[in-house]
Amino acid sequence: MAEIRLDVRNLGKRFARYHAERPRTLKQMAVRGVSRLKPLDRFWAVRGVSFEVKAGVMLGVVGQNGSGKSTLLRLLGDVMRPDEGEVIRRGRLRGLLELNSGTHPDLSGRENIFINGVIAGLTHRQVRARLDEIIAFAELEQSIDNPVRTYSAGMKLRLGFATAIHVDPEILLIDEALAVGDVAFQQKCLEQIKKFRAQGCAIVLISHDLTQIEALCDRALWIRRGGAASLGDPTEVLAQYRADMDAEAARRAAATMKPLVTTAGVALNLDENRFGTLEAQIVDVRLLDERGSEARAIHSGEGLVIEITIDAPRPIEWPRLSAAIGRGPKEDCIDVNTEADRIQVKTLSGLKKVELRLRRLDLAAGRYDVSVGLHDAEWRFAFDYHWRAYSFDVIGSPKRGLLSPPREWLLA
């Protein structure tokens, strides 16, 4: 019998719900009165949850936003203390939750590996022993001594993930925020996680990606309104969860979100070619040529405008925008973002239109796909990321190679 690594018994966490204008400073206290200091009521974010995770087992946790998944994860990670019940951990606990939490942009990739490695629970000596492995995993051998501010979004992600994954955990907590990144690298990370499991690590994966949970997990837990709605075989649990979700979705159907179909007619499906929390959304993306009309095909050397419409119902601070143009699923020819281009946007709220004007694209002929993303300030997660969702053709240049710069041949 495999050893129980994580034993959760009747776990409960209660939060106080405060007055919306709860005074947070003494001045406000004086102005608004002390009465608003008292919580209006208390509610259980998580209650009566019990389960165990044995060595070599991967448990997938599903549930809607606000169901208590994150609180559960924090209780498991011992960064929050339960009000009821207990969590017993037998083994080294590590988290793959937030990448790059200690990253300093002015320091080199190498220095940041040390910082994030130590923050993730390794000693300096342990990081040094794994340094080469981490750099190789991140595929950053060439640029490891450059400051991280010169890195692309993808490079930062690889750096963060490679560091976070070299921690030899015995209990591993994984948050879904890791869903963004190019597919090849995601695959590599999944392989590493599978290796941990094979070595006897107990893994808890919280994700919205049901297919991923079905494919990876041995057991699944469905959290609904803070309680364990169902626990057991992933196929069964997910079937129940899906049925409930469908019912829920039917209830408030058209009112909330109409399925997004791009102007090119491509449907965006969450967790297929669309990722993110959707707290703020990219509601429309148009590719325009130099004359401002819809660009289905452009001549090599012409410019391209990517027009992105964003809807942020609640203001988001210091958002980062990224755009990439690639050919096929693997290769990005262009990968730019506002941080690398030193564009600072303090807040974004309501409906906003953003244009990225690429003055000329000297690309080889072929079909190209555009990915656009709206990320949080630290690149920890995406609000909305449309992967390879918009395509256009480049014509009038050779098909071979990647670039077709303006050129002339001179015969001496």
Binding site: F15, R24, T25, L26, K27, R74, L75, L76, G77, D78, V79, M80, R81, P82, D83, E84, G85, E86, V87, I88, R89, R90, G91, R92, L93, R94, G95, L97, E98, S101, G102, H104, D106, L107, E111, F114, I115, V118, I119, A120, G121, L122, T123, H124, R125, E170, L173, E378, R380
Partner: protein
């Protein structure tokens, strides 16, 4: 400082990182039972070296990020206190003609020691609130953050130390063997500052006012501490009140050791140490209790 922390080590959230193999850890409902059955010495060894590495790496990050990408780099750590020294010297020595011997050394010691306290407490107040992503990291010892504030600012001070020595020599001070007492005084101030930082850091999570109150208190403290004037000039009964300020005695000790080459007032230093340790232990235990609620308020 070690004594104070060692007594409180059982709180894993605040002080202990993730456990070593076979170390079983329980977090039960608050109040009924807290703390974890510790595993062998190995686990404690790993915890300590990890804790130390967290402090060291964050101190380094703090230090490098502060001075890299600035035109004169680390020279800023020198330039700032020197500028203050020049102003004070001009105002009090040249204009007011204050009668304190070796006035440049006198003021410079005051500026350096006070800057350490002030910068550390200012950083310490924001240590938790400005690092929510570290606080939510499983196994991250949050108690490292206030320690980083105090330690990082001690290093900035160390950069300025050679200038102080030069100043002492130029002004004809003879530190002698009494300088061996210097580390002891620094340790006392470290404990004092760390205690203040633990309090300020934890309080600031619940009431963000601390960010505004702390600078005011520090400004008041600046004038009520004999930095640019001598405590001897303060009338007797006021002096007794000003002496409650632990920095008063610490500055006197620094000056005794560095300028006069005397052994500091040991009884006074011991009293300050005792006070600082009590403060540190109380603050650290408050911090530990509060640390489980940090994420609820961030």
């Amino acid at each position: 400082m070690r004594i104070g922390l060692a007594a409180l080590r059982s709180g894993r959230r605040a002080f202990g990182p993730a456990s070593a193999p076979k170390d079983q850890d329980r977090s039960r409902s608050a109040g009924r039972r807290s703390g974890a059955p510790r595993a062998g010495l190995q686990a404690i060894g790993h915890d300590w070296s990890h804790f130390r590495d967290v402090v060291l790496i964050l101190v380094r990050r703090n230090f490098v990020s502060r001075y890299r990408n600035t035109a004169i780099g680390m020279a800023w750590a020198l330039a700032t206190p020197l500028l203050f020294l020049l102003v004070f010297y001009f105002v009090f020595k040249v204009i007011i003609n204050i009668s304190i011997d070796k006035y440049a050394s006198f003021v410079y010691i005051g500026i350096l020691a006070w800057t350490w306290l002030q910068a550390a407490v200012t950083d310490g107040t924001a240590a938790i609130t400005s690092n929510p992503n570290l606080v939510s990291q499983p196994g991250f010892p949050v108690a490292a953050l206030p320690i980083v504030s105090v330690t990082a600012n001690l290093f900035s001070l160390a950069v300025a130390f050679p200038v102080l020595l030069a100043l002492l020599i130029v002004e004809g001070a003879r530190p002698g063997f009494a300088i061996l007492w210097l580390p002891a005084i620094v340790v006392v101030q470290y404990a004092l500052t760390l205690g203040l930082c633990f309090f300020a850091a934890a309080l600031n999570v619940a009431a963000r006012d601390m960010q505004h109150i702390v600078p005011i208190l520090l400004q008041i403290g600046y004038y009520l501490t004999p930095i640019f004037y001598s405590g001897d000039k303060v009338p007797g009964h006021y002096r007794a009140i000003l002496r409650i300020n632990p920095m008063y005695g610490l500055l006197e000790s620094y000056r005794a050791v560095l300028i006069d080459g005397r052994i500091p007032d040991l009884a006074g230093l011991a009293a300050t140490l005792a006070f600082s340790l009590v403060l540190l232990v109380t603050a650290a235990s408050y911090f530990r209790k509060a640390s489980y609620r940090f994420l609820e308020d961030l």
